[in-house]
């Protein structure tokens, strides 16, 4: 890290009193605790209870209202299930499409521009259309999630196929490898890395799509409860519900990131 030019550090070093700073993990933890404490203090002292509730009450609402009530729990589980189905469908659709588009120079040149054209459309604009066609139930949310999750995988698989190092292909061929061997030993390993990178992005996007649709449909599911809590000015369960979903998002991101790391380690 080169742009560390702060005078304070320089001064401290000059005085020979180089106090060791907190390890970053502890510093992050300290910031988090300080923010929570500040929030608690502010909410108790000055906050309007219709808008701000202290973190302790959010935790209370988490166990008392969110996790204890069957309807809310089911809405969260349903969202999780929709996400899983949407992600699986996105992978199942995008992988073959990506392989076909990236397979030859001709398909790449003729089909990839179409993929990019569709990718450039802001997809929220068609959210009402999706709900109109697929209905208010899980189908609409899954379909919208799939529409978000497909593109990162297609683009990454195509990039992986088109960016195979020609040097490797040529040397494999000159050592007598046949077509199948080249595909198995040279092309596939190159594709797998970018495929996993696409998976990670796709998970983020699928989650975005499912949540957008969930929030848009306010007659059932998570959208119903967020609207209910906002309209009744009951922020504690609203914060708790959002926290649960955010933790879910973090856990899923971490899982896919781990899978990506493992795949790259496996490739060497």
């Amino acid at each position: 890290m080169s742009a560390s030019l702060d005078a304070a550090t320089a001064g401290r070093l000059a005085r020979g009193a180089a106090r060791r700073p907190l390890p970053p993990v502890f510093a992050r933890l300290a910031i988090l605790i300080a923010l929570l404490a500040l929030w608690e203090f502010y909410a108790r002292m000055f906050g309007d209870p219709a808008f701000v509730r202290p973190p302790t009450e959010v935790v209370h609402a988490l166990f008392g209202k969110i996790l204890a009530e069957d309807t809310v729990r089911q809405a969260i589980l349903l969202t999780f299930w929709e996400l899983a189905v949407a992600f699986a469908l996105a992978v199942a659709i995008a992988l073959p499409v990506g392989l076909v588009v990236g397979a030859t120079r001709f398909t790449h040149r003729s089909l990839f521009p179409v993929v990019l054209l569709l990718y450039a459309i802001p997809q929220v604009t068609v959210l009402p259309l999706f709900i109109l066609i697929f209905g208010l139930g899980p189908a609409g949310k899954i379909a919208f999630g799939v529409s978000h999750g497909v593109f990162p995988i297609v683009v990454n698989v195509v990039a992986g196929l088109r960016n195979v190092n020609p040097l490797f292909v040529n040397s494999a061929r000159s050592m007598g490898a046949n077509r199948l061997q080249i595909v198995r030993r040279v092309v596939l390993p190159s594709v797998i890395g970018s495929f996993f990178a696409g998976l990670r992005l796709s998970m983020t996007m699928t989650l975005l799509g499912v949540l957008l649709a969930e929030l848009y449909v306010s007659t059932a599911g998570i959208g119903y409860f967020t609207q209910l809590y906002s309209e009744t000015f009951d922020p504690a369960p609203l914060f708790a519900l959002i926290t649960v979903l955010a933790l879910m998002a973090i856990a899923l991101n971490e899982a896919v990131r781990r899978a990506e790391l493992r795949s790259s380690r496996w490739r060497g």
Partner: protein, 256 residues
Amino acid sequence: MAATTAREILGTRAIQAGFIAGGMALWYYATDVAGVSHLFLPKIGSVYRELSELIVKGAVLAPLRVTLTSVAISYFIAAVGGIGAGYLVARSAYLVRVLEPVFAGMFAIPITLFFPLFVLYFGIGAESKIAYGAAYAFFPIALNTIAGFGNVERRLIDSARSMGASDAQLFRRVLLPAAFPVILTGLRIGFFICFASVLGGETLLSRTGLGHQIAYAAELMESARMYAWIVLVIVISTSLNALVSRIETYQQRWQQ
């Protein structure tokens, strides 16, 4: 894209135009021949009538102004905040190690989750969409600013220092030019995230703006009008896309 010749770009455009023409033909076939429900897919003619009516009567102007103003304010906040925060963090290697993972982690969470909070605090009007868009676009801009300033070659800084550059000179002559392309990438990503977020916020809960018009038409089951608004938004976003890539080309030429 090392070898994108004019001919290849022309070919790409031709393929995209052909795809659109094919899609229109399929659309015509589905509605006028195969008889798909007008609720899901209205006839091209009725969408065209709605679209021209919206434009002729000037009904586009008010929502368009709301959305574009929101995007502009939101993006300005995100750009100033993101570059400012990114620069402050990037000044210290320690802060980068502490805060960079925090920003990256926050960026991985869909901020859409927090949209109900934005509505709670900023109301149903344009303010909540501005705040939501700014919060979404802040992270890519801040992360790229940190990356841009953080990865300036040590060699460049040392040689400027040894030639007696002051802090201000170092910033203007070395740090800023070196970090600029990376920051610009962040600004570009941030812009499209900002635009999509404002539209998304309007679609979710709003009383004005382009996103609201689409959602409202869908609610009334006025499919033709909904398609007309969707076409409008796609045209606008495509033009914005073209504008940004034009700016980028100029910047690259200027940098060389």
